[in-house]
């Protein structure tokens, strides 16, 4: 009886639709290591970048590019971490679009040094929906 009462209270788990991934053309002709690294992200496609549509304050939408998709996680491979204006703007863009789609993002970086920089940058910007992990080239 008590078990049944417990079941009655149980709420159905909220389920979310799978991420609505779009694909944008991305042409890099460089043969350098960074390009190979970016192209080899899980779920990536050669010559294309997975995108999430970001809804702007005026209601228009713009794509935010990533490098790969793994289940409910979108992946951005970062060959190096920078702390510059457009890099910070990208962090804000990614965090916002991930929140809009109720997703978590993952930055994949090649070394411990880059991971440390990434942690610090995300912490400074109070971003909690992007994780960081090392994926060696």
């Amino acid at each position: 009886m008590s078990t049944l009462r417990h079941l009655r209270k149980a709420r159905p788990r909220t389920t979310y639709d799978p991420p609505k991934i779009g694909w944008a053309k991305e042409t890099f002709k460089s043969q350098a290591n960074w390009r190979v690294y970016n192209d080899s992200a899980t779920g990536g496609r050669p010559g294309q970048a997975p995108t999430l549509m970001r809804t702007m304050p005026d209601g228009t939408t713009r794509p935010v590019k990533f490098d790969g998709v793994e289940g409910d996680t979108v992946i951005d491979r970062k060959w190096s971490i920078r702390d510059q204006t457009n890099a910070r703007a990208q962090v804000a863009r990614q965090s916002e679009v991930l929140a809009q789609h109720r997703l978590i993002g993952t930055w994949e970086v090649p070394t411990v040094v880059q991971r440390t920089k990434a942690f610090k940058l995300l912490k400074k910007m109070n971003v909690t929906n992007i994780k960081v992990r090392i994926v060696k080239p």
Partner: protein, 192 residues
């Protein structure tokens, strides 16, 4: 060695400008950037430019056919052999100017002309290339950024002044010195 590293940076930039699709990069903006790069290359020291041309040949040989053509064209279109023959003299300031101009292009080009995520990607590649430079040359380059910064105005000047900070270049030089790294980290935290 340094010429090859700088040649890779320039070649990556040229390939991006030459092959980016129109949705990613406005074609007129790409042409303007290419012309500016050409002027910067022509102004290089003749000895260094000779090494750079040789490095382009090596890079082209390891590229796909269309990329090879684009790298070969750097030398032909920008008349770099002629520039060598004129035997101009220059120094690290001119290499710093090339790097600074590439950075300013990616950092400050309007979002409607250059896809912002793609520009971040290119800057990440540039950052790793700079970190990998010979430490003595990187030291000179960092100091040179401060010298050339007044040649730029507004946001571009701030961007050039901030290159070492933004790319963590002082940290790259201090990689084996934990005390210096701690100092740099404290300074960075204080600036934030």
């Amino acid at each position: 060695m340094i010429a090859m590293q700088i040649a890779r940076i320039v070649a990556d930039y040229v390939l991006f400008l030459a092959f980016a699709d129109e949705e990613t990069l406005d074609p007129d903006t790409a042409n303007t950037a290419l012309l500016a790069l050409g002027r910067d290359l022509q102004a290089l020291d003749a000895g260094f430019l000779r090494e750079l041309i040789d490095a382009f040949v090596v890079i082209a040989a390891h590229s796909s056919d269309d990329a090879q053509e684009a790298v070969d064209n750097i030398v032909r279109d920008f008349r770099l052999e002629e520039a060598v023959a004129e035997n101009r003299t220059a120094d690290v300031l001119q290499i710093a100017r090339i790097v600074a101009n590439i950075s300013v292009f990616f950092d400050l080009t309007d979002e409607d002309l250059l896809d912002p995520d793609t520009s971040v990607k290119m800057m990440e590649a540039l950052g790793a290339d700079l970190e990998a430079l010979d430490p003595a040359f990187l030291r000179k380059l960092i100091d040179a950024f401060a010298v050339i910064a007044p040649d730029y105005v507004g946001d571009a000047q701030a961007a050039v002044r901030g290159l070492a900070h933004g790319f963590y270049l002082e940290e790259a030089l201090a990689a084996d010195d934990p005390v210096r790294l701690a100092e740099l980290e404290a300074k960075r935290d204080a600036e934030d």
